[in-house]
């Protein structure tokens, strides 16, 4: 009896130690902790947000008094001028942010791709904004761009210009935020472009030189097609990123002046955590996700026209 228990325990023990040697057993030990955590912290919240968006959890109340109300939150969204306006503001922001970011980072990467003495130093300087804290960056830019007496406008006035209101102007707030965010995230895109440019086969350029191709021709027929998968990746990720700008918008303008920079990301957080409209905020967030998904799918389908693998 006793020896039997001992034997089975040894059997259990040895089967555990065997796990490390059997591929399948080991694989589960390696993968399961991550997958379980991933389900808890990523998949359940996603499913739960869809569920919340169909509830009437739009005030601070006990969880057991919450009811399912179907698509009411979604219907309400289409009659809410502030939310609709916020979606439009986000699109406008994307139109400033994405082309600006892609063009500038490509330009800087092209410049950094040359060999020159101060290359290391300039690269460090250009990368620095990327690692800075969003709150610190927002504080310093708000002071620099202060419309009355800020250093930037002092300089512009001295140069005889009529300086803009930057973050305090109804028309200029959104582009200014986009500009600041381009400044901050430029490093990432630049390095990715730089890596792609360094991967272009030099023989292609040599062949083009023999054919007497102009600089533009080289750029247009060699560089751009060869790096197009990278450009595609960067366009997709920066569009997705451009809809998630809550932290910087909140710190720079908090949506103002008026609602001129109230983007959808800000609207969602305000609805959820200032007004306690949890279900309504979730419905807006789901719509936002759906829009981003559709944009990404359209680009995925459209890539055949310009992306060369």
């Amino acid at each position: 009896m006793k020896s039997h228990a001992k034997a089975s325990r040894r059997g259990f023990f040895s089967s555990i130690t065997q796990w490390g040697y059997r591929e399948k057993g080991a694989a589960w030990v390696f993968v399961l902790p991550f997958v379980i955590g991933f389900l808890i912290f990523n998949i359940i919240p996603m499913a739960y947000s869809v569920y919340i968006s169909f509830m009437d959890y739009n005030s601070f109340k006990a969880l057991n008094s919450i009811k399912l109300i179907g698509f009411d939150n979604y219907v309400r969204l289409f009659h809410d001028p502030i939310a609709l306006n916020a979606f439009v503001k986000s699109f406008i922001y994307t139109l400033f942010y994405v082309p600006g970011l892609i063009l500038l980072s490509f330009l800087v990467a092209t410049l950094l791709n040359r060999a020159f003495a101060l290359r290391g130093l300039t690269r460090t300087l250009i990368l620095m904004p990327y690692v800075a804290n969003v709150v610190a960056v927002s504080i310093v830019w708000s002071i620099l761009l202060d419309p009355f007496g800020g250093p930037v406008n002092q300089l512009l006035t001295k140069l005889g210009m009529d300086p803009p209101l930057w973050l305090s102007g109804v028309k200029t707030a959104l582009p200014t935020i986009a500009g600041i965010n381009i400044w901050q995230s430029l490093a990432f895109q630049t390095i990715v472009f730089l890596a792609a440019l360094q991967g272009v086969n030099k023989e292609l350029y040599e062949a083009a030189d023999i054919d007497g191709a102009s600089r533009w021709k080289r750029l247009w027929s060699i560089t751009l097609p060869v790096i197009s998968p990278t450009t595609f990746f960067l366009v997709i990720t920066s569009i997705i990123g451009s809809f998630q700008n809550y932290a910087s918008v909140r710190m720079l303008t908090n949506g103002g002046p008026g609602t001129s920079s109230r983007v959808i990301s800000l609207n969602i957080y305000e609805e959820a955590f200032t007004l306690n409209h949890y279900s309504y905020a979730s419905a807006q967030a789901i719509i936002l996700f759906a829009i981003v998904l559709v944009i990404t799918i359209i680009q995925w389908k459209g890539q055949k026209r310009w992306v060369h693998y």
Partner: protein, 273 residues
């Protein structure tokens, strides 16, 4: 002569571009060393006549400032360690082991990378409250530990390690844990440094998670703490800048030291697109 001139002009131009990029930091440091009334004095002095250290002294006597520092530091270190362990283990399995459903699980993880943080923020708040994580530092550490982006990156890196190395170890009787620990991890040190570096910088700079999930001001992390500090300082811009400087200096120093890994890491992640 002509090329020399052209080269120096190009260097000068690039240096100018770099300097323009860091103007806000120069202003930050310069303003933090000025008396509150001197920040906006026209014309602006980059190096103030008299170095004014009272702003920094105020911070050293601040009730919470170094509390936030310590909170952020311990949270970041825990995140780096936990993420490092979980992600490398899973990445090893995806790179080297075969098990049923491997490709489907991997694809599933990748597609979930598309879900924006904003979309699930309300549900996360409810869930974390239910789990008792709200207002603790675990609410930052645990969700960050299960990060798909780095699985992707490390799997790629592990796949590049020659198979002969691990296969001969298997024949010599090493277990998969032994291989993971004694062969794969030591060879992957550059990739691990990249992951640690990014994790450190991103967690240190994160605003949304601590802002939404942590309520007590003494439990807060630096980014949200800095906002509190800014509001407290009111119109004292010099003090605000000193507060900002001390928080930015940490990631910038780490970045300056480990820049090589930073650049490699971004290039690695971007090309995979």
């Amino acid at each position: 002569m002509g090329t020399l001139l052209r080269k120096s002009l190009f260097n000068l131009f690039m240096l100018l571009l770099g300097v323009i990029m860091v103007v806000p930091f120069v202003f930050m440091i310069s303003a933090s060393l000025k008396a509150p009334g001197e920040v906006f004095v026209n014309p602006m002095q980059i190096i103030p006549d008299k170095i004014y250290t009272l702003n920094y002294e105020t911070i050293f006597h601040h009730k919470y400032y170094f509390h936030w520092y310590w909170n952020s530091f311990s949270t970041v270190v825990m995140t780096v360690l936990l993420r490092g362990l979980l992600v490398t283990m899973a990445a090893y399995a995806f790179a080297r082991l075969s098990f049923p459903g491997k490709n489907i699980i991997f694809l599933f993880l990748l597609s979930a990378m598309m879900i924006p943080h904003d979309t699930t923020i309300v549900a996360k708040f409810m869930l974390y409250k239910y789990m008792g994580l709200i207002n603790t530092h675990w609410v930052i550490i645990l969700p960050a530990a299960f990060d798909v982006f780095f699985i992707f990156l490390l799997r790629q890196f592990f796949m590049g390690i020659p198979k002969d190395l691990t296969e001969s170890a298997l024949i010599d009787g090493a277990s998969h844990f032994g291989i993971y620990f004694r062969i794969i991890l030591p060879l992957a040190v550059p990739a691990l440094i990249t992951m640690g570096l990014f994790t450190f910088i991103w967690t240190w700079n994160d605003f949304i998670s601590p802002f939404i999930f942590i309520n007590d001001i003494n439990k807060q992390l630096v980014t949200v703490g800095l906002e509190y500090f800014q509001l407290e300082a009111g119109k004292n811009y010099a003090l605000q800048m000193a507060g900002a400087c001390l928080i930015v200096v940490i990631p910038i120093t780490i970045f300056a030291v480990l820049q090589k890994y930073f650049v490699q890491g971004i290039a690695m992640s971007g090309i995979k697109g």
